[in-house]
Symmetry: C2
Subunit: 124 residues, 2 copies
Amino acid sequence: MIIQIEPLSDIPIYTQITNQMIEGIARGYMKPGDSLPSVRTFAADLGVNMHTVNKSYHELEKKGIISIIPKSGAIINSPDKTEMHIKRITEEFKPVIAEALVLGWEKEQIQELVMSIMIDLKKE
Amino acid sequence: MIIQIEPLSDIPIYTQITNQMIEGIARGYMKPGDSLPSVRTFAADLGVNMHTVNKSYHELEKKGIISIIPKSGAIINSPDKTEMHIKRITEEFKPVIAEALVLGWEKEQIQELVMSIMIDLKKE
DNA sequence: TCCTTTGTTCTATTTTTAATATAACAGATT
DNA sequence: AATCTGTTATATTAAAAATAGAACAAAGGA
């Protein structure tokens, strides 16, 4: 799982790690049950501090995507159909959809873009 | 156009203003051609600093949503069908869609959520 | 059992960003 | 002429991000 950090980005490093991990899992590069690298080795690979990776892992745990087993490691969760985090996902979608609408996108165009992104992420 | 600032939020104030302005325009509370309040009066209304509002306005301008006329004021743009900002909108959608997929959402469920948000924003 | 690795916790410092506070400027608006 | 506008500048404070180093106690492998 290769992750590219952009030091000049206005997106915090720990968020860059979080997002790229999520995208990597969505693309199937990592699967439920897989272990994540330890915060130390991963930090060394990325050239960042241990605590930065640790913060990203806890962000992933808060989102329900991984489980951190104390003193042991982190493992990617199996999706739980009863826990869709619908409220959070809704709040994350809303500003993007509102922005597209304000810029003049038609509902159908937005649906098409969303579909094309899903297909891109799902194709292996 | 009423805007509610949450001082304790981890979202910066200027981003809260930006997002709520966009949602307000999407809902039709403000329309293309309308003037935004001056940065000073709006800042006074919200109880924040002038520069904070100013930063939000420039964020909105960068997104192509308003035009700032120097020494005069800010006006909401008419949507320009030839300028959909497709690359930026795609990059904004991607992490949210990836997160939903990783949490086990089906493509159809995501499409339904997106549609319901669009309907909610469009209903007046 | 011993040794290494693990996440955790703690303190500390540096850097960057966000937010506020004033002030002054020059064009626009009335 | 007087006011209002966004702009620019400088300064300060507050908060967040990132780094650094150390120590701990449990887990896990040899």
